[in-house]
Amino acid sequence: MKTILSGNGAVARGVYEAGVEVAAAYPGTPSTEILEEIAANYSEIYAEWSVNEKVAFEVAFGASLGGKRALATMKHVGVNVAADALMTAAYTGVNGGMVLVSADDPGMHSSQNEQDNRYFARMAKIPMLEPSDSQESKDFAAFGFELSERFDTPVMLRMTTRICHGRSIVELGERKAGPELTYKKNPQKYVMIPAYARMRHEFVEKRRLELETFAEEFPGNRIEMGDPSIGIISSGVAYQYAREAFPEVSFLKLGFSNPLPLKLIREFAGKVEKLYVVEELEPFIEEQLRAVGLEVHGKDLLPRTGELSPEIIRQSLGKGNGKPAATDLGDLPRRPPVLCPGCPHRGLFHALKKARATVTGDIGCYTLSALPPLEMMDTCVCMGASIGVAQGLVRTIGGRQKDRIVAVLGDSTFIHSGIPSLVNAVYNKANITVVIADNRTTAMTGQQENPGTGQTLQGETVPELDFEGLSRSIGVTHVTTVDPLEVEACEKVIREALAHSGPSVVVARRACIFVDRDQWAAPLDVDSAACDNCKRCIRIGCPAISMDDVSAHVDQHLCLGCELCADICPQDAFIIPGVKENA
């Protein structure tokens, strides 16, 4: 049967067909939907949201040791978190097949950097598969487990945003059980003390050579001869762009790109006059070809930043169609994403602004508060960084801001990697305030469950993580809880936390508007006679509020009735339905 699947949906399907029994992940764009699809459609597979990518990797690895096929998925920067486990799992190898999906984000559609994770496969010396569409995503995902078992190694399936979120036609197959394997105690293979690890490193080098041979015969590495005056080596979505740009020329398409099939590449190079490597981001393939003395063009012509496209490739290779580059449309208003109407984070940042806090930030919806008009977040580096950065900053920043350092991070981000940092703040007596913006969900990636929500990916109810109790147990003495949309209370709680000497924690708790729709209320309106255009409501950055020469206005389709604007309006100009005017 043929159907249309996203690359992520296709990976989920491939994993299902390959008889996988355990799948673990931390949500991260563009990888999130793989586990969501598994949880929604394939109940045969145990699937979990782990608290971070390292744990997800370890869960999958442990499942593999138990003899079953196992999957871990994450976005590119998640592999940084999992890298500690990955680098040594590359030594131990596996029992049941294990595949790691790295979903890279060239162009940074929803990421803080655009690192090229193909280098992780090379660094760990593990095989890497790079699908170019949804059919290959399914096929390579399934094949990855065979490859893993055959060569005793974790396998990286490297996807990118356009493969993950692009939809194309897939032929579905049936689920087949993986091989019958059981847990075997084997310290020399799985206990990486130096004596054993030295032996395993020898194994890794032997495996690397065997993988080089395999790369030559893998059918997903194939020469597609056309006009021999130009030969293009490419992989992933870049292959599709290059094919589109140059339908007539010769191609070597690589589906298995670590280690490289150098013999096949030499054979191809011998058949074409001019050799190009077309790859997104870094010259991963190109540099390896140059190192063995092949004459090749690549990043001398193509950009190293952002996504490629057919027209970028055409123009970089000097075959532009002569169409002008983008027209200058003048100063069109941009349309950046914003905190939703009714978002509880807005109340928090209003209070932080009033407290004149310097805010170190983190990864989540609340990072949008860095943009105008709120402009209340000064840093965003990586998951959990807000608390660590605050502790360094407080030791060097001068003046009054020394007592106004606030780290803001979400519930899921705090659990992911904020907890050790908070322990550090207590241990080293850092005078900072940590705000856990607990909106009862992992919101940014589309409202996933986490330990704070008391729900699991597969719908089980579990005890909710007690953020306040946790903070107290590690030695934070000043711990308060507030509803961020209660304006006065929130301002007071922030003030008091800042006044406290030593680390303090504020749990700003109110559910995301998509988690608790019961809080949606009728839209507010404006008494235009009462409004004096002071613009205070405009400065909270609610997309439902605008202003003309006469007064503020509330968009009746967007407003969810959170009343934050009404609470901060000095003129009481907002009309709350059901409440008497000027009551």
Binding site: G166, S168, S309, P337, P372, P373, I538
Partner: protein
Amino acid sequence: MKANGNTDILLAGVGGQGIVLASGILANICLAAGYDVKQSEVHGMAQRGGSVTSHVRFGEKVNSPTIAQGEADYMLGFELLESLRWTDFLAQDGIAIVNTQKIDPITVSSGAMEYPDDLQERIQARCNQPVLMDAFTIAQEAGSARAVNMALLGGLSKHLDFPLEVWEKGIRNRVPPKTFDANWTAFSAGRKL
């Protein structure tokens, strides 16, 4: 006829306007008609009122998941400002089907910039006889303000060679049953323009 031989459709608008759903319906219709098809959109930020585009391409064999600049045969513009922003993607003889609705971005509602008042004229100047429709009013009159996407799909359906039953089935498969009538009414109204 373009070099790639495919039909390329760009959908551009604002998060929450139903662009992803419309693209999904369109892609499934192409599959049902026996074509190769690829659809690519960027989400993640979509829910938060940002600019959203989706690319749908179909034909005998589709390679790139995204449409090259200047090669879209059709552009469904869900909002005036977003429509102008993406006009570069339209081929010279491409057809723009544009909803005349205006949605203020935060850069405008916050007072930092003005929403341009000449967008319709600029779109008309840059596109070859664009089809302008008030899809929001059409959708409201059809019984669901959310059916803007269906009105635009209706406008597109006139130009594509798929039988009406295929559209009806494609939409019925993807919208909640109780909203089908409103969606279909909006589609039919868009198709008549």
